[in-house]
Structure formats: structure tokens, C-alpha cells
């Protein structure tokens, strides 16, 4: 998998909230950097940047280094707007004037879609800028991620000519490029999360871009206990063990088996609906934030070789 990601310049990560998008994004960044790639990890207009809890440093609009080969950023709307204006209006003083203008501000805030296009513009500019080998974008939860891409289609219909039309086309081209761009859909082995990821896959498929690299089944607890162990577990629970601790342990092992069973169902559903098995990412123990991301990066490096 890492071999494939290494060839991409732009990787989007999305999935239902709570599926571990930010941790996965960070792990992917660490793994790619481990192979000598220069990586930018970016969130999009995040009020609460999750990358901060991984790297202990708040991502700002301007990328900042957090580890060898890794920088992080939060592409916020105002920053992206500033950058966008700076491209079309060469004089900084005038840019400032626009940004401070009340009418412009109201206009941009209340015109649905303006925001999305300006944000996508920034992503596009970062890819084209060539400063990084790979840009990994930690997108908001899938419904809104889809809306972000769908904006490009709207722009195409809305603007027959003009600068936005042109910009929209350039962005679409980058985002549709199967050699340069990937979308990774992340799910955990829970029915609702799988529903959402399959729905997103259908929507994105209909939209036609970005190219879906695959569905990742995160926090896969692995295979169920053997059928024989399950039978013994069942027997222990049925007899109502005299040891209260044994009863609790049976519950805990039962929970684990239930989780593994959900993962089995999730794998099967994803394969049936998309024709491709998901890639399972193991449930890794140990802490949160950077520690987990490093574990996961290590796993990605091992898995890919």
C-alpha cells in the first residue's frame, strides 16, 4: 500500500467521525517521510485541528515542521482567501483592503460554495507549488467531504466563463488525475460507519472524482477466537461461573469476539458492494496521539514491503 501512496502527490483521507482519520493521516505522513518523502499534512478549515493532539503543535495556515520531512497546516478559510486574492491582486495593500471590506466578507460568508472553492484552490496551489512530494489532506467527515468535491461540479454548471470557471477546471483536473491523486475512505468495523463509507463511495463514484484508492478497515481486531474457544466461552457463560472475575473475563472475551465478528461482516459487505476487499488496519494498543500514529506508521512500513 505504501508503495502506491508513494507515487501520489495528493491524498485525501475521509470517513465517518471517530474512525481515526487524523491518526491515520499522521501515520501515513510518518511512513512516507520515513521513505524520504517530504510531506505536508493538512486539515481543512478546522475549528479544532486534530493534528495538534498528535504532534503537540497547533497547525496554522502557514505550514510548520513537526518532524523530519513532515510539516503540518490548517487550511483555514481566511488564510486561503488571502492567498487566493494575492494571486489575482498583486498589491498586498489592496488585498488587505478587500479582506477588511464588510461587503466582501458578508458576500463570501453567505455565498454557499465560495468557501469550498477558495479552500480547494489552496489545496491545488500547494500541490502545484511543488514544495512537497506529497500532500495528505485530513478531510472533515464524509458527508461534508463529499460536498466539498461536489462544489466543483456546481462551479462548472454555475460559471460558463470567468476566473472561477477556469480555476474550477484546473482544480478538477488535479483532483481527477488517477496517477496523482487518491481518496482513502476510512471505516471502523461498525455497521453505521460501514454504511457511511459505502454511501460515500457510491456518491464519489457517481461524481467521478477523486479516484478512490481503497477502503481501509481501521481498528480491525483481527480473527475471532477459534470455534472451539468460542464453544468453551459459551459453556463458561452458560454455567454462570462461581468466580465473579471469570464471569467478567468471559464478558470481556465475548466483547472481543463480537468486535471481531463485526469486522468479519464489515469486510464481507465492503467486498460485496465494491468488488474489492478492504485493507485491514489492526487495532493497535497503547496510548493516543503520536504514540499510536508511530505504531501505525511502523505497521504501514512493514505491510507495504
Amino acid at each position: 500500500m505504501l508503495d502506491t501512496f508513494e507515487k501520489r502527490r495528493l491524498i485525501f483521507v475521509t470517513g465517518k467521525g471517530g474512525t481515526g482519520k487524523s491518526t491515520f493521516t499522521s501515520a501515513l505522513g510518518l511512513a512516507l517521510a520515513g521513505r524520504g518523502r517530504s510531506v505536508l499534512l493538512a486539515e481543512v478549515d478546522s475549528a479544532r485541528p486534530a493534528l495538534e493532539s498528535v504532534f503537540g503543535r497547533r497547525p496554522e495556515f502557514q505550514p510548520s515542521p513537526v518532524a523530519p520531512g513532515i510539516e503540518i497546516a490548517n487550511i483555514d478559510f481566511l488564510g486561503a482567501l488571502h492567498a487566493y486574492l494575492a494571486e489575482v491582486v498583486p498589491v498586498e495593500r489592496v488585498v488587505q483592503l478587500i479582506l477588511k471590506n464588510r461587503i466582501v466578507q458578508y458576500f463570501l460568508q453567505a455565498t454557499p460554495g465560495a468557501r469550498e472553492l477558495v479552500l480547494l484552490s489552496r489545496i491545488h496551489a500547494l500541490v502545484r507549488g511543488g514544495r512537497y512530494d506529497t500532500l495528505v489532506v485530513d478531510l472533515p467527515a464524509s458527508g461534508h467531504a463529499y460536498a466539498l468535491f461536489k462544489t466543483l461540479e456546481s462551479v462548472r454548471r454555475l460559471f460558463q466563463v470567468g476566473p472561477l470557471r477556469k480555476r474550477g477546471e484546473e482544480i478538477s483536473e488535479t483532483i481527477s488525475d488517477p496517477h496523482g491523486t487518491s481518496l482513502v475512505l476510512l471505516t471502523i468495523p461498525e455497521e453505521m460507519s460501514v454504511n457511511e463509507v459505502l454511501e460515500t463511495a457510491r456518491h464519489i463514484g457517481r461524481l467521478g472524482f477523486p479516484p478512490i484508492e481503497g477502503i481501509l478497515l481501521n481498528r480491525d481486531p483481527g480473527p475471532r477466537p477459534s470455534p472451539r474457544e468460542r464453544r468453551w466461552l459459551q459453556a463458561v457463560r452458560e454455567r454462570g461461573p462461581r468466580s465473579a472475575r471469570l464471569a467478567l473475563a468471559a464478558d470481556a472475551l465475548g466483547d472481543l469476539d463480537a468486535a471481531a465478528q463485526r469486522a468479519e461482516v464489515a469486510r464481507r459487505r465492503i467486498e460485496e458492494e465494491t468488488g474489492r476487499a478492504p485493507l485491514s488496519v489492526p487495532l493497535l494498543s497503547g496510548g493516543e496521539g503520536l504514540e499510536t500514529a508511530r505504531h501505525l506508521a511502523g505497521w504501514l512500513q512493514g505491510e507495504g514491503s
Binding site: 465517518k16 467521525g17 471517530g18 474512525t19 487524523s22 479544532r48 486534530a50 493532539s53 487566493y84 486574492l85 489592496v94 461587503i103 466582501v104 458578508y106 460568508q109 454557499p112 460554495g113 465560495a114 469550498e116 472533515p140 467527515a141 458527508g143 461534508h144 460536498a147 461536489k150 462544489t151 461540479e153 456546481s154 454548471r157 454555475l158 460559471f159 470567468g162 476566473p163 472561477l164 470557471r165 471502523i188 461498525e190 455497521e191 453505521m192 454504511n195 457511511e196 454511501e199 474457544e229 468453551w232 466461552l233 459453556a235 463458561v236 461461573p241 462461581r242 468466580s243 472475575r245 471469570l246 467478567l248 473475563a249 470481556a252 472475551l253 466483547d255 463480537a258 494498543s285 496521539g289
Partner: protein
């Protein structure tokens, strides 16, 4: 009605979840993604119905998860009644009807135009405008506007004693809270006048270039959007002209509604994971800042093995229990090695679960500190299976309202 009753634990002056479901008219569920917000909203709606309050659960989450858990094949912009048989089959009695709906942005927008447009011509002009069609349908931010529109509608329909509003995950919930205010500001008369005056005077928008103060702004806007779009947009605004007042009144109304402590309670839903807890604390601050009534928390997926400690030799299951497990396995044909392995797997599962449960308790305690003494935190244990059916929702209900019987 506004005086909070003592909660199930009898703490006076602290409004409990039960108080809110019994007395408030609007409950807004907020929180980060993946913490069971939609399921929780559905469970609150069920509780209201059990208590004899006519309730509506609205989800604006694009992922459409609510229908599954309520046993409806799908949810749309129309309010659908949960079949009474659902309650009956689960052995409980709904004393009032429960309805649910999922917000359809486009339909809500169209309905709004139909209602607000003064005549057929104005209505057609808007519905056929290219900008309108795109904005109403496709673009992400419209959803938040329309959520507040729908909320205003159903609130004033008089059909419900309680509306439970599910919101998109955290970051977008903030957008949602802001949306009505943003629209109100945008519809500020002066701003609208600026956009509309060229058309009112029968001139094209482009003439702004020679019209003094507006000209720079116009040039700048066209450098971003292109002049063609500005013209289209002006036409759209012009078509909308007569609707502004209605729009503004409604969005101001929603903003007031969300801040009225006699009517509304925000419930922060979270899981014990660190990121979700951080979000909960952050959101508490946001609510305070905006003067929105909070103080209610639901922590889902709480581990229940926190009291398990290993003994001095590192065992979490006592010798008798381990022997029992080994005996069961050996009685069913396991070799001694297999039986020992089974006992070990049991212990390992419990030890891991205990560590995670203790992490949960620690984080909940710090949430309680951050939320302050007037907050009510209700824990729901991690359930052995995922909730996506009615009986699962009732099980959540039992944990949310431990003092009440179904």
C-alpha cells in the same frame, strides 16, 4: 416550567436529562462524530414519547443514519411517524406519537420560497434562477441555513411538545449555530441595498465601476468571482428581494430560540476517547460564549471493567476462576495446553478491557471538573453489540434514565 426540578439523584438546582425531556421544547444534541449522537437523539425522542410528549427527531447529518435505528426504511423531508407496533413489539407503550425526519435541503428551500414569494411570477423567477438552483441543492453551507428554517417551521407548527435536533459532527455544528446569525447579517438592509440598487434603478450591475464608493468593491469581487457571476447573483438577490424580511425574521427567531433557557437545552454527546472529550470541553465553552443553555452531557461507550485490578502475581482472574475455565475446556476435549491458552485469553481480554475502562473513568472525571458543579453527566456503558434497532435504543434509554421504567 422554567424552574428545574431535582434530578434523579436529587441534586437541587441541577437540571437533569429527565427534566429536559419532560419540560423543554427543544433539545439540541451536539458532539464530535462517531459517538452515537444520532442514536442518542433517537433514544431521547423515544423517552419523550414514553412520557406522553409528542416528539420529533430531526437529523441534519448527511450520513442518514437515523432511519436505520428507528426501523424506518428511509427518512425524508416529511415527518414520518414511528409505527406504534415498534413500541408494542418491544413491550413498551408510547403515550404520544413519535415522528422523525431527515432534512432535505433542496425541498426545504423550495417550500420556503413557495411560502414567502408574494406571487407566482416572483416564485418562478427564483425557482428558475440558475444561481438559486445550485445554491439550494448542491452547496454545503445551504444545509445549515435550511436546518434553522425547518426547525422554525416545526417549532411553530404546534404539533410537537419536544423537538430533538441531531446536528452534524462538531465542526459543522458550529457552522450550524452560526448559520442563522450569518444569514441575518447578510440580509442587513445596507448590504442588500448595495447589491440591489443598480438593478432597482434599471441599470446593469457593471455600471458600479463608475459609481464611486462601490466601484472598488465591485472590481475586487469580480476579480474573485468574475463579472458574469456577479450579474447572475444580483439577479438572484433581486428576485429574492421581497423575501428578505421573512427570511430575516425567521433567522432571528431561530437565533433567539437557541438561546432561550426556558425552551432549549443543548446536550453534549461524547465518548470517553480523549479527542471526543476535548471536543466536549471545547463545545461547552462555545455554548457559554454564545449564551446557549448547556450543562447536560451524555458519555456513551463507557467501559465497565474499571474496578478490575490484577493481584500481586499479575492475575485478573482468581485461581478458582482460572481452574474453572480450564476444567470447562478440558471437559470439552481441550488438551491441557489448549485449556491453559483459553484461560490466558480470558485473562488477557479482561486485563486489556480494565485498562481501557480506567482510562475512561479518568477522562470522565476531568470532563466533570471542566463542566462545573451545575452540569449533569450521564454515562452509558459500552454495549456488547452496536445499536441499530429499536430494542437497542430502549437499552440506551434504560441507561440514560435509570430512575424511570419503560
Amino acid at each position: 416550567m422554567s424552574a428545574p426540578m431535582p434530578d434523579s439523584r436529587g441534586r437541587r438546582g441541577v437540571e437533569s436529562l429527565e427534566d429536559a425531556v419532560r419540560t423543554r421544547r427543544l433539545i439540541v444534541c451536539v458532539g464530535s462524530g462517531g459517538v452515537g449522537k444520532t442514536t442518542t437523539a433517537a433514544a431521547l425522542g423515544i423517552r419523550a414519547a414514553l412520557l406522553g410528549r409528542r416528539a420529533l427527531v430531526i437529523t441534519i447529518d448527511p450520513a442518514r443514519r437515523l432511519a436505520n435505528s428507528l426501523g424506518l426504511s428511509e427518512l425524508g423531508n416529511e415527518e414520518k411517524e414511528i409505527p406504534a407496533s415498534k413500541f408494542h413489539d418491544a413491550g413498551v407503550l408510547a403515550r404520544a406519537p413519535l415522528r422523525a425526519m431527515m432534512l432535505d435541503t433542496r425541498k426545504t428551500f423550495d417550500e420556503l420560497i413557495l411560502r414567502l414569494a408574494p406571487d407566482e411570477a416572483a416564485r418562478r423567477r427564483i425557482l428558475e434562477n440558475r444561481v438559486y438552483r445550485q445554491l439550494a441543492d448542491n452547496l454545503a453551507a445551504s444545509q445549515e441555513y435550511m436546518a434553522s428554517e425547518k426547525l422554525w417551521d416545526v417549532y411553530h407548527s404546534g404539533a410537537y411538545d419536544l423537538i430533538v435536533l441531531d446536528t452534524p459532527p462538531m465542526k459543522n455544528a458550529l457552522d450550524f449555530l452560526e448559520a442563522s446569525g450569518r444569514l441575518t447579517r447578510f440580509l442587513d438592509d445596507k448590504i442588500m441595498k448595495w447589491f440591489l440598487s443598480p438593478y432597482d434603478e434599471g441599470r446593469v450591475f457593471g455600471k458600479r465601476i463608475v459609481l464611486g464608493t462601490g466601484s472598488i468593491v465591485f472590481r475586487l469581487l469580480s476579480s474573485i468571482f468574475g463579472r458574469e457571476f456577479l450579474d447572475e447573483l444580483s439577479e438572484f438577490f433581486l428576485a429574492f428581494k421581497d423575501l428578505y424580511r421573512g427570511f430575516r425574521d425567521r433567522s432571528e427567531g431561530v437565533a433567539r430560540l437557541l438561546r432561550d433557557p426556558a425552551t432549549t437545552r443543548f446536550v453534549v454527546v461524547c465518548s470517553p476517547e480523549e479527542a471526543s472529550m476535548d471536543d466536549a470541553v471545547f463545545f461547552t465553552g462555545q455554548l457559554r460564549e454564545r449564551g446557549m443553555p448547556g450543562g447536560l452531557f451524555i458519555v456513551n461507550q463507557v467501559g465497565r471493567y474499571g474496578e478490575v485490578e490484577a493481584d500481586s502475581r499479575g492475575h485478573v482472574v482468581d485461581a478458582a476462576g482460572r481452574a474453572e475455565a480450564v476444567a470447562v475446556a478440558e471437559g470439552d476435549g481441550a488438551s491441557p495446553a489448549e485449556a491453559a491458552r483459553f484461560a490466558l485469553d480470558l485473562e488477557r481480554a479482561l486485563a486489556d478491557a480494565a485498562v481501557r475502562s480506567r482510562d475512561d473513568s479518568r477522562r470522565i472525571a476531568s470532563l466533570a471538573r471542566a463542566a462545573g458543579p451545575r452540569a449533569a453527566i450521564q454515562e452509558v456503558p459500552r454495549l456488547p453489540s452496536e445499536v441499530f434497532d429499536f430494542s437497542g435504543l430502549l437499552e440506551i434509554d434504560r441507561h440514560l434514565f435509570p430512575g424511570l421504567r419503560s
